[in-house]
Amino acid sequence: MNQFKYISSKTIEEVLEILKQEKSEACIVAGCSNVLPYIKDKIISKKLLLDISGIEELNYIKKSEGKLCIGAATTISNLINSKIIREECNILYQAAEEFADPTIRNSATIGGNLADASPAADVAPPLLVLDAVLEVESMDGKREISLKNFFVGPRKTVLHDDEMIVSIKIKDNSINKNGCFIKLGLRQAMAISLATVALILEVEKDKVADVRIAMGSIAPTPLRLIKVEGFLKNKKIDDELIEEAVKRVREEVKPIGDVRASAEYRRYVSGILFKRAFNKLT
């Protein structure tokens, strides 16, 4: 394996100072479950790995001022074991349960999964429909980035070289409780997603009062299906509406073909996954 330096940081400040000096030469790691395979395969080459897994102030799940706040270095296992996540944002719990396996969940973190920016990142679609906001920090200060503006391409985000994700914030909203996440892979478990859907829905008098839809592995980034959401709002729910929405889902996704599935299959199955999730919530 390539050589690199390793620093285990104990404070956010120390991480930010090092990032300011090293810029893109440094790579923040926590669980290492993606970064080490990338280094082994020479997909990335970094001078320094900056380990943030020991920073206590990045590892929490708490409610504060009408928001659910999750520290960036919170492991996927901690999401599963959190009563707040289960009760308030069950869709994130559902995705965490589909995530890899228990050994990887003990290492992999929510911030790492987002920063990695894989189109197949399992926590991204649920966080997109939960309208999550990322709090990022650098030596120059803090800023907030809405998750829907965070991803710009496969493994590319708007994060600057000297910035790190500090927390993920989700505003309290009763709609967040009625969510469904479905993952399709080539196997039932331990599979990289071939397509995923996250959907939350509020129904009033047989009409769609509010709906949010996001999908993974069907575009260069995890994607909110804004056009389909707009189409569905305030419409009466019946078979015809769902079939039309399925058609529109297939128009809005932008899949590629790869070793796991063809673009045509992904486009087709996107509609099916949407329909399954929608039917589950109505």
Binding site: K5, Y6, S8, C32, P37, D51, A100, I104, M190
Partner: protein, 160 residues
């Protein structure tokens, strides 16, 4: 690259070591401490053969930097038995013939022990779900699931 001093506990014993920043935990365990029960399988987190406990939670030692275990406790398959007395899960695997070639067994047993700590009486589906990341290339899963179930029911002495 400058070596990093680390202190950790391995199977209850305190150890100190100087490790390279790019040393993996599995290499330290196997090559330096001669704890060869932990197996190197895929090296990319797909197979579970290198599973060890880090602070009592199962993790993959092929995706963990040795430098990152400073101040932590590691338990490998060698640390599961108490002297000559095997852990109930080890007995259950033996009695239920849940071993074919044996390469996946250390990882299987450690993950299974972690499962029962979280969920003392899992259903068959729950066992399969939790063990999803531990692969057996002999495909002897039926006996493995049976052994875990037997251990959970306190019947590790059940014979095939």
């Amino acid at each position: 690259m400058k070596k990093i001093p680390i202190e950790f506990s391995i199977n209850g014993q305190k150890r100190e070591a100087f490790v390279n920043p790019n040393d993996l935990l599995i290499n330290i365990l196997r090559d330096d401490l001669y704890l060869t029960g932990t197996k190197y399988g895929c090296g990319i987190g797909e197979c579970g053969a290198c599973t060890v406990f880090l602070n009592n939670e199962p993790i993959l030692s092929c995706l963990t930097l040795a430098a990152a275990v400073d101040g932590k406790e590691i338990t490998t398959i060698e640390g599961l038995a108490k002297g000559n007395e095997l852990h109930p899960m080890q007995i259950a695997f033996l009695k239920n013939a849940a071993v074919q070639c044996g390469f996946c067994t250390p990882g299987m047993i450690l993950t299974a022990v972690a499962l029962l700590k979280e969920n003392p009486s899992p259903t068959e589906e729950e066992i399969k779900d939790y063990m999803r990341g531990n692969l057996c290339r002999c495909t002897g899963y039926v006996q493995i699931v049976k052994a875990i179930k037997a251990c959970a029911e306190g019947g590790e002495n059940e014979s095939i």
